[in-house]
């Protein structure tokens, strides 16, 4: 997170999309950034960063369609985010940013242009990316709806064939994760469905999802997250349901930690950011599970679940920030060069310990960079190693 907000000399430079030297890596890093959660959210996050950076130290209200209004305050090395207006700050001191509706498609257009460029450079190597040009232009709402239908029909088919629900859920979870790894489905969809699949696994041999879908009184569901909550409420009303949801969310949290351990041990830039990308649906799924429990429980129990949901939310935010940095660097090394200058500035002003502290934050605390970037960030080498043997 360090200095993510106004790291470059001019805030508007954060929005620059420049042709990279390694087009293939740029495509992959952009696909990771877009698909980690939801392309339109990522587009909005990208588009708002310059405005947030330009208002350094000031509270900014972010109004975005389909996302709850948020409040952010950012300075060079610290930031705050909250879902309610900041206390003791007058309304006229809060800057308001309204996102265009429909959300921008700037990054997806850039992705298409990079794929076209790769086609010219390396027609064979470009083949695997061709279908991403159209896929990301598709309707997100429709893809979310299809995902819910997919779950329902998989459960129905499983029931007809006498396959246990947990086995169907397990199979669906592995298919989704494989598709996510190939950028064929977005992290938000995978997170919500993973949460439900893990509930089913925890409840085996019970059939909590089938029962929830069959018995829960129909209520209007507007989006994928709403569908997830609808099914969870049906599970919650079953005997032991809250326990299954809690266990499933815990299981997903443990998967996040395992993925982050993989990132820490990564020997190449691709496997580092790949592991961070893989952690996000697990973190998002766990956040949905704990968040649901925090709203359905009461008292201390609700507060404890809210804390767990916050932890998962932070994991998502850190992961997303790292993927954004990777994409920026894939174009022109903008962030790592700026971070390296920041480390050097700390050394000049406060000494070596402060330079090291800055690098510890970038590598160990926020996991923005892999461990093998340490010598480069500390200025001990001018060669940025992308892979260690």
């Amino acid at each position: 997170m360090l200095g993510m907000f106004n790291l470059l000399d001019r805030p508007e430079d954060l929005l620059l999309l420049t042709a990279p030297a390694d087009v293939r890596y740029c495509i992959v890093s952009l696909l990771r950034f877009l698909q980690a959660s939801r392309p339109s959210y990522q587009e909005q996050s990208w588009a708002t960063q310059a405005a947030v950076a330009a208002a350094a130290g000031q509270w900014v209200e972010l109004r975005r369609r389909g996302i709850a209004t948020g409040y952010i305050q950012a300075e060079e090395s610290r930031g705050r985010y909250r879902s309610t207006p900041p206390e003791n700050v007058a309304g006229n001191e809060i800057r308001r940013i309204e996102m265009p509706d429909p959300p921008p498609t700037t990054l997806r257009q850039f992705l298409s242009s990079m794929i076209d460029r790769l086609v010219v450079q390396d027609p064979t190597g470009a083949r695997e990316f061709l279908h991403y040009r159209d896929m990301l232009a598709g309707s997100e709402e429709e893809a979310g709806y299809l995902a819910t239908r997919r779950l329902a029909s998989a459960l129905a088919s499983g029931a007809r064939l006498g396959v246990p629900e947990a086995a169907v859920a397990q199979e669906l979870a592995s298919i989704l994760l494989d598709q996510f790894d190939h950028f064929a489905v977005r992290g938000e969809v995978v997170g919500v469905l993973l949460m439900l699949c893990h509930v089913s696994r925890r409840a085996d041999p019970q059939r909590p999802l089938t029962i929830a879908l069959r018995n829960t009184p129909k209520t209007p569901v507007h989006d994928l997250a709403g569908f997830g909550d609808f099914v969870l409420s049906g599970v919650n009303s079953q005997m032991g349901g809250a326990g299954w949801i809690n266990e499933a969310a815990q299981e997903l949290s443990e998967m996040v930690e395992a993925k982050l351990d993989d990132a820490t041990a990564a020997r190449s830039i691709g496997s580092f950011y790949g592991a961070i990308y893989s952690s996000i649906p697990f973190a998002y799924g766990a956040k949905r599970g704990f968040g649901f429990l925090s709203r359905s429980a009461t008292g201390d129990e609700a507060a404890n679940y809210a804390v767990l949901a916050n932890q998962c939310d932070e994991r998502c935010a850190h992961g997303m920030a790292a993927l954004k940095v990777d994409f920026g660097n894939s174009m022109d090394f903008r962030f790592i060069l700026a971070h390296r200058r920041m480390v050097e500035k700390q050394r000049r002003l406060n000494g070596e310990t402060y330079a090291e502290a800055t690098v510890i934050e970038l590598i160990d605390t926020s996991m923005t960079y892999p461990t093998f970037f340490r010598p480069f960030l500390l200025g001990r080498t001018n060669n940025l190693t992308m892979k260690v043997t």
Binding site: R78, V307, Q311, A357, I360, D364, S366
Partner: protein, 163 residues
């Protein structure tokens, strides 16, 4: 010990906390991106909490052994160094905390030189348990609290060994 060494002590604890720093503020209404200075201050608090428990344990032992008239001059000397440190409350600023870490490190070195190893082991175990409890209270999962408390114990042991 100089400021740089005290900073390095905190930094090694920050490294051990690493990506798990997010747990510390997870109960807050606001999400924080406070940077390394916030985690460093927290790491310093863990170290000082540890040393305070070690010091308190030592004082209790001193009273117990003193009553039995078993305390020698060396123990009295170590007690003198700790008394000044224990009398102060929690550090309110970064600069104050660095000073406190330097004082604590000197007191630990003296303790390490003058007090028998078996006693020291018991003091360290109590300090480690206290830090682990603090981390769990701050919403860190059990295994993570254990790992970080062990890293803080390592810092304390190295200061004791420096004597």
């Amino acid at each position: 010990m100089d400021d740089q060494s005290a900073e390095s002590t905190r930094l090694r604890i920050v490294s051990a906390i690493g990506r798990d720093s997010l747990y510390i503020t997870s109960a807050d209404k606001e999400r924080h991106y406070d940077g390394v200075s916030f985690v460093a201050l927290y790491g310093g608090q863990l170290f000082l909490t540890f040393v305070t428990v070690v010091g308190t344990q030592f004082w209790d032992k001193l009273k117990e052994e003193g009553a039995k008239k078993l305390v020698d001059v060396a123990w009295e000397k170590a007690a003198g160094a700790l008394k000044g440190f224990l009398g102060k409350g929690e550090a309110k600023s970064d600069v104050e905390q660095i000073e406190r870490i330097k004082e604590a490190s000197s007191a630990l070195a003296l303790l390490g030189r003058e007090v028998e190893k078996t006693y020291l082991e018991a003091f360290v175990a109590a300090g480690q348990a206290a830090v682990e409890a603090r981390l769990r209270q701050d919403n860190l999962p059990h295994a993570k609290a254990k790992r970080i408390a062990a890293a803080v114990a390592q810092e304390v042991k190295s200061k004791l060994a420096a004597g």
